[in-house]
């Protein structure tokens, strides 16, 4: 996830990473991680530097572009749970497609490439 600021609103963070704020801390699937003091700003946003460190997410700075890239939580497996993440991508006609729109059907999701 590319960010231009080190604060982010919790809903945006959850949509992209699956980590939600709950009374126990940051939770994803059946895992909850207590957050340290200073993880939230006065405005209710998350301090990405603090949260990233706690969730073992790399936060890499590109000085020249003045942006950061936030990577996935490390230390476990590529899948945190068996619940399929929401995938939102454009189709070949340029229309937005949501994987969740196929709820109720079996889906074979195949990755390919021109290269």
């Amino acid at each position: 996830m590319i960010v231009e600021s080190l604060t982010i609103d919790p809903l945006s963070f959850a949509a992209r990473t699956g980590w939600e704020i709950k009374p126990e801390g940051m939770c994803r699937a059946d895992q909850c991680v207590p957050l340290p003091d200073g993880a939230s700003t006065a405005a209710g946003d998350l301090d990405l530097a603090v949260v990233a460190e706690r969730l073992q997410m790399p936060l890499i700075r590109d000085e020249d572009a003045s942006i950061w890239a936030l990577g996935p939580s490390s230390g476990g497996r590529a899948l945190a749970s068996a619940t399929a993440a929401e995938l939102e991508l454009e189709d070949a006609d340029g229309n937005l497609f949501k994987l969740s729109s196929l709820h109720g059907r079996k889906v074979l999701l195949v990755a390919w490439a021109s290269w």
Partner: protein
């Protein structure tokens, strides 16, 4: 091939969704137009499905049931029988002969994988190929910090590449082949630098490598160089990296059916 499977099994409750891991949408489109898909045919210019599902090469697939639960994690997804290898012409360069030899060692069981898909469609959760939630997670690849960093680095590279494209220089001839080596364009140089870093951090992620190499080894105006040979932009190339990682037999993890 995937369209044919979709056509065959759509009425039985299966939807095939294909995702093109192509930073350049225009590279994927001719293939999609050829397939004339009626199934959802998506283009993932950020390789975001690598991160969400654990794809590290193509073709790979996951199975998702009616409740939105993964019942098989990312694994090799080949359904076309591989052509039987005949003898190679003597006048082929040695390197090309070696490439074909290693390709002949690729793992995979296309007939078995296709039969497993049919079994799942027929029997649903009763299929022996349907895995428990714990098994799906356990079979997904480990995610150490270096691999997580590679994901972030790849995304930074893609961000710069897209910036170069929006400035009008990443389209067409100017950003394929030897011109990538030039430091004249800072966005391109930054993209190459971050992608190179991603390759170092997660050498087993072939989508990061093959995506980047193809820009460096293709000749402007010509079909892409699928062998992605030695180039003076990146440290690695397809065949030498393949051999560094155990050769053709180690290139794909065959699905444990």
């Amino acid at each position: 091939m995937w369209q044919a499977l979709h056509t065959e099994l759509e009425s039985k409750g299966l939807t095939v969704v294909t995702v093109a891991l192509d930073v350049e949408r225009d590279d994927a489109m001719p293939w999609i137009e050829l397939a004339e898909p009626t199934h959802p045919s998506l283009i993932d210019t950020r390789h975001i499905s690598d991160e969400l599902f654990g794809f590290t090469n193509v073709p790979m697939a996951v199975w998702i049931d009616e409740e939105g639960q993964l019942v098989r994690p990312a694994e090799l997804a080949s359904i076309e029988p591989r052509p039987k290898g005949g003898s190679l012409p003597d006048d082929l360069p040695d390197r090309i002969k070696e490439v074909f030899t290693e390709i002949g060692k690729f793992q995979g069981n296309p007939e078995g994988y296709l039969a497993a898909i049919h079994d799942w469609v027929d029997k649903g959760s009763e299929s022996e190929f349907c895995l428990s939630a714990d098994e799906v997670v356990a079979r997904s690849r480990p995610l150490p910090m270096d691999h997580a960093r590679a994901t972030a680095c790849f995304e930074l590279g893609q961000w710069h590449w897209t910036r170069a494209a929006s400035e009008g220089v990443a389209k067409g001839a100017s950003l394929k082949g030897a011109s990538l080596k030039s430091d004249d364009n800072q966005a391109v140089a930054a993209a190459v630098r971050w992608w190179q870093e991603a390759h170092h951090l997660h050498p087993e992620n072939w989508t990061y490598k093959r995506q980047a190499w193809t820009f460096a080894t293709s000749t402007p105006g010509e079909a892409p160089d699928l062998l992605q040979g030695p180039n003076d932009v990146y440290d690695g190339n397809w065949f030498d990296d393949l051999m560094d990682q155990g050769g053709g037999a180690a290139y794909y993890d065959a699905p444990g059916l």
